[in-house]
Symmetry: C2
Subunit: 223 residues, 2 copies
């Protein structure tokens, strides 16, 4: 049987790059997309288009958790942060933090991996994110690898089941360059926190992405 | 503010004992109940009745994951194991294993704890379970504690967030005794894997529970 992996696919640039990173390794692809009450469905539409373009099997999960309303990424009545680029990630955990989101996302990925026989869960967390979000730290994913090996049927049988974050040491410019090299259809990705017709340009995610492409030295195909 | 915990409440004897264990400590109780497509809703009804009796705030989550159909606890068309008591837990991971269930359950509990400001997620895993289920091992919960501290806003702020398995070294007789001492309304709990009107008496869970009460030396109030 062909080796397979589960890629956590949000529809943004980072997770899309992970999907093509795994694709380049000739692995069979399971993409997992999570609907947890985001302000908009643009990134989920992107996840669908990306999974199709990559030839991945898409698994969409609905997770309605009323307590996530504490996050401005879920509660549309809350204002999204709009701070200067130099201040992003400096003010502690931002209001866009969704309690335990990546913990749940990885856990769901491990469940899927254990059911379909995949050898890893691949996540797009990276250096930029973990300046603000605790659940994007390298140590967090390392600790989760231990959970994966101890708590699954695969791990119990001595078979491989890792939690892999291939972008974890990269900044956004390096990710943009890698995405281009891997042939990611960057125009299909969606990073903006707002649900406007075009990326808003004002949220943290838009600002960091724009800076990344500027440093990488080429235009963002999604704009 | 009163200290609070999240108790993962399946509706069985073990999780009910955890709920009363936390209650005896004077903690504010959040109970988390997970509907993941179980063969029957008896244990969910029990969870509701138990949360009410304990004065806990109940959070019910719906998690529909098509890939869980690999488990005989989810796919009603699959036969439940019916093996002699002496063979339970000896044949490797049983067909009732739900891929990554406890991993997802703890992850959801951590999300809730991070949102409501609870200092621990309490799970009823115990010595009997981890003879068969990998996601009931003491080491698994220890590793998850590290994930909790690294990957949450609470942990990031240096505040306490533990994954606690108070029954992890106890067998079913010791749990039955503890339940009685704590005043758990044992008659409200439901452990049977089948959805019959009365506990089936033939599934692993019924057999282990019967053995536990026999060893504890008193009658099971649920029968």
């Amino acid at each position: 049987m062909k080796r397979s992996v589960v890629v956590l696919l949000s529809g943004g640039l980072d997770s899309a790059t992970c999907l093509w990173w795994a694709r380049a390794r000739g692995l069979r692809l399971h993409a997992l997309s999570l609907r947890y009450g985001q302000r908009h469905s643009k990134e989920l539409d992107s996840a669908r288009a990306l999974a199709k373009a990559a030839g991945a099997e898409l698994h969409e999960v609905d997770l309605r958790l009323p307590w996530l309303k504490t996050s401005s990424l879920v509660d549309g009545a809350k204002a999204l942060p709009d701070v200067p680029l130099s201040r992003i990630g400096k003010g502690g955990v931002p209001s866009t933090y969704v309690p335990g989101r990546n913990t749940m996302f990885v856990a769901l990925g491990l469940s899927l991996a254990d059911a379909v026989g995949a050898e890893a869960v691949v996540v797009g967390a990276n250096a930029l994110d973990y300046s603000g979000y605790p659940d994007c730290r390298p140590e967090f994913y390392k600790a989760f690898g231990r959970v994966a090996r101890l708590g699954t049927k695969r791990g119990d049988a001595g078979r491989r089941l890792d939690v892999v974050a291939p972008l974890v040491r990269l900044d956004k410019a390096a990710i943009a360059r890698l995405a281009r090299r891997l042939g990611v259809p960057i125009g299909l990705t969606w990073s903006c926190y707002a649900g406007t017709r075009r990326p808003c340009g004002r949220c943290d995610s838009c600002k960091l992405r724009a800076k990344g492409f500027a440093e990488a030295g080429f235009a963002d195909p999604a704009l």
